[in-house]
Symmetry: C2
Subunit: 169 residues, 2 copies
């Protein structure tokens, strides 16, 4: 059986080495907190205004300002800055925290579309940082798609409360 | 509803600040990779020899050497060293990776019992590092207990394949 990591690489087309090249540079020190805040604000402005209702609706139960803060605190922590996310909310637990949402291949591509636009229109992000971040995001998005499939007893670890049920929802 | 972080603090008795005090010092630089390897080896020797069969059996499907490597690579990455775990296996995704196991309050306490013994009998771990690590481990163990309850539709986010079922297993 393929691991989460192998699925993420295959589906994203991004190798593990390229995905984790974000660890070669301290992007937090290079870009600064304000740039992360600007990027996440730019990103979620696009998401909450998405003309695609199916995608916009995934975020309907979250406040935009909370989504922005969760994201830039995670980016800060993951890319070399202080552990703002964990201090406020605990371990990232990326797959578990995405559990309520339908993280499909299509949703991953739509997320990445908005992030690419946000990266391209946020000032002070140089092209090397942009490439590193986009590779990380692309690999991570498909890692979460792989994680989402764990919810499906046909493909992943069975949901114990579904024992005895044969049809997948 | 309590967040994962709030449950972790309440059940562990460790505040978020104390749990994430591991980020105040670079424990990887202070202790070195070999100490993490020694600690994880010491820990899993105890776990795989546990006289409590119910606990030992949780690990029965994993090879001891794999368990050791997964653990010291995660510790290295989380405590200031190179991202060995992610480069090999992707995001820690702590809750999702513990999903196959029954992470109960009792299992958390047993895990912590062995880890306390391992910390006390691994050389070159000073008492400040030991305190910081034990607080982090205790908080994290109960964070995972809280995460485990997400599998239970009565207390967490419903498992979508259990829709329409009323009884919890």
């Amino acid at each position: 059986m393929q691991t989460l990591q192998e699925k993420a690489s295959e589906w994203s087309g991004v190798s593990t080495n390229d995905a984790f090249a974000i660890d070669e540079t301290n992007l937090y020190e290079k870009l600064g907190l304000q740039t992360f805040i600007n990027l996440s604000t730019n990103f979620y402005n696009r998401v909450y205004d998405d003309e695609e209702e199916w995608f916009r609706s995934i975020f309907a139960n979250s406040k935009k300002e909370d989504a922005i803060q969760n994201q830039y605190e995670f980016f800060t922590q993951r890319m070399g800055g202080p552990p703002l996310f964990s201090q406020r909310r605990g371990h990232p637990a990326l797959i578990a925290r995405h559990r309520p949402f339908p993280v499909t291949h299509q949703a991953a591509e739509r997320w990445l579309h908005h992030m690419q636009q946000a990266l391209d229109t946020t000032k002070d992000i140089d092209s090397d940082s942009k490439t590193k971040m986009m590779n990380f995001f692309r690999h991570t998005a498909f890692f979460l798609v792989a994680g989402d499939e764990l919810k499906n007893p046909k493909q992943g670890i069975p949901c114990k409360h579904a024992a005895g049920k044969s049809a997948a929802a």
